[in-house]
Symmetry: C2
Subunit: 355 residues, 2 copies
């Protein structure tokens, strides 16, 4: 790489569109920033072309490909931020577990964690060093973005990563992961701590490589009861948010765990992602404007007619308010969304006027 | 059938254990009643024997088999209520749609609803008459129970039935069902109303045949945002609860839709089922003791060691309180639960003493 990595020391003012970062700093903005989870993905025809040529981990591990994919929605949909194309399961990989990504089947881990020895065998010291391709992709993307919009890095949350490490694939109930936690709580916490430590190092290196902010995806947090979330998810999310203080703003996205919003609003995170399972007004009530909220449009609603999308977006912003808010979906955009519907979502945020 | 069907006119006092019905009437009880969703199911070795001999719909449609399966957990696990062995998808069947139940794959409907004509073609008038085997199973089971415990009938909620009718199988996102609702709302409401009308007739006939109470399972309600729940789920749940007034107490179980608890607590339903995604204390706060709450033990927690199960059950009852409460799981018991763990759950409720 000939370009030196962008760092947090690089002044934000070089950004032409720094709406996202201003919102995360709770500065007054003229309208909410907007981006979409999985915005670089299978609903975009240009992404599908690269997908036809290169397998999943080739796309993830080749900085030029990851960069190209990351940039697609900036040009084509007009979002206010780029999020690096990668996967949360690079952490299990870095810790020595094989991860397969089979088309139409989702991820799978042939060897799962089932006992103390498995946890002891995980690579921990310096595991984050093996993810150089992510940092390179961030640095390259930062350069290619050329200040157009901020760049978001990300990682999976420890509970969600544990879920995959124990189950070896997606699950409706995450019953095996829970069984592991309920029957071997000490081992579960040991594993969660190892994942947390590496995730912190990983996110710091992402910041150093050019990420302006990072999001932590706790995709399966909502499988936990409020009490179990407090035991197995929250402490590790808080550790990550604390450790990144002074580096970049952190957005926590504990999908389904609306019950944790109050606690998490008192954390050192800058923002909280929420899904559509909670009304914006109630999310505000729970978080008392102490933290920036991000969300929460039902991705399935992007299948509605465009005028209905625009109306619903306006209602969403009315409900959240313009300030301390980042417009987003409540989960990743799905492959079957027409591009012009995704664009209508983004446009509706940009066109927002309170009436 | 030589036994006349039990009806609501039959005095409840003939029941030796009427805890469930007393709780549903908000009478003071000595301890909470307890039953488990899917308590007659695959975790029971005796159920597996019948499963090996008869296919799913043979088990459902043969009153002697449905009765035998319904009774198994009463004797073997000691629950305070029987719930008739059946399936929510008998309603689509009664309306003329084929439903297949393939082992390990879940239900599927080869022909789905996709347009007005499909809805017009559904059998409506008298569709509930084709479900005589359910009423016969209830009457036979009522007789065989011989007053030991109350008998629960059930149906799927209109939104959940629509989900299957549109998608043709289970889904993580119910995106097609939502797309149908968002793009053809009038047709969606027409379909929901047809399902509602038949469900009301069906539940009334269940009451007449011997069901002491009925539960309405809105298993996929939680896929909807609070606003969409109010549009596509709530009105039909309320219609059902209203229509059953004066017949039998109705328990509504809108899984995942904690946000609707306040509204539903002001309905004519007698009870509300909740899952483990909400703390008991907060569910009480939202419903203000206006309605009986049922739930909300995470079925996966039945995989914990027995002492931990018992401790968690005690904490759950402490949190809900003994009165206006029915101890249950927050969703159906899963096949991999050891029978003695299920029994420990039930025993813990029976042994409950406030300390």
């Amino acid at each position: 790489m000939s370009t030196p990595p962008a760092t947090i020391d690089q002044p934000v003012k070089t950004l032409q569109n720094d709406l996202l970062l201003r919102a995360l700093r709770k500065e007054t903005v003229e309208r909410p920033p907007v981006w979409m989870m999985r915005q670089a993905g299978r609903y975009l025809p240009d992404y599908l072309k690269l997908k036809a040529q290169y397998d999943f981990f080739t796309r993830v591990q080749t900085p030029e490909l990851a960069c190209a994919i990351t940039l697609q929605p900036i040009d084509q949909v007009g979002v206010d931020a780029a999020i690096i194309f990668s996967d949360i399961l690079v952490i299990p990989q870095a810790m020595g577990l094989e991860v397969l990504m089979e088309e139409g089947k989702g991820p799978s881990l042939p060897k799962v964690i089932s006992c103390k020895q498995d946890i002891d065998d995980l690579v921990t010291d310096g595991a984050e060093q093996s993810l150089k391709y992510v940092y390179d992709a961030l640095t390259l993307t930062k350069k290619e973005l050329n200040g157009r919009v901020p760049l978001i890095g990300f990682a999976g949350a420890p509970w969600t990563i544990l879920c995959y490490m124990i189950e070896g694939k997606g699950s409706k109930t995450w019953e095996k992961a829970k069984q592991f936690a309920y029957t071997q709580p000490l081992l579960a916490h040991q594993l969660l701590q190892k994942i947390t430590d590496i995730t912190i190092s990983y996110l710091k290196l992402q910041a150093k490589a050019g990420a302006d902010t990072v999001q932590v995806f706790d995709s399966w947090a909502g499988a936990l009861s409020p009490a179990d979330f407090k035991t197995y998810a929250q402490p590790y999310l808080l550790q990550i948010a604390d450790a990144l203080q002074g580096e970049v703003p952190v957005i926590l996205f504990p999908k389904g765990s609306w019950y944790a919003l109050k606690d998490l609003s008192n954390s050192s995170a800058a923002g909280l992602g929420i899904d559509w399972g909670i009304a914006p007004e109630f999310a505000r009530e729970l978080t008392g404007n102490r933290i920036v909220l991000q969300g929460n449009f039902d991705p399935a609603k992007l299948l509605a007619p465009i005028p209905d999308i625009k109306k619903a977006v306006k209602e969403m912003i009315d409900a959240f308010g313009v300030q301390n808010y980042i417009a987003n979906l409540g989960h990743g955009i799905t492959p079957n969304i027409p591009v012009d519907h995704a664009r209508a979502f983004v446009d509706a945020v940009k066109e927002y006027r309170k009436s």
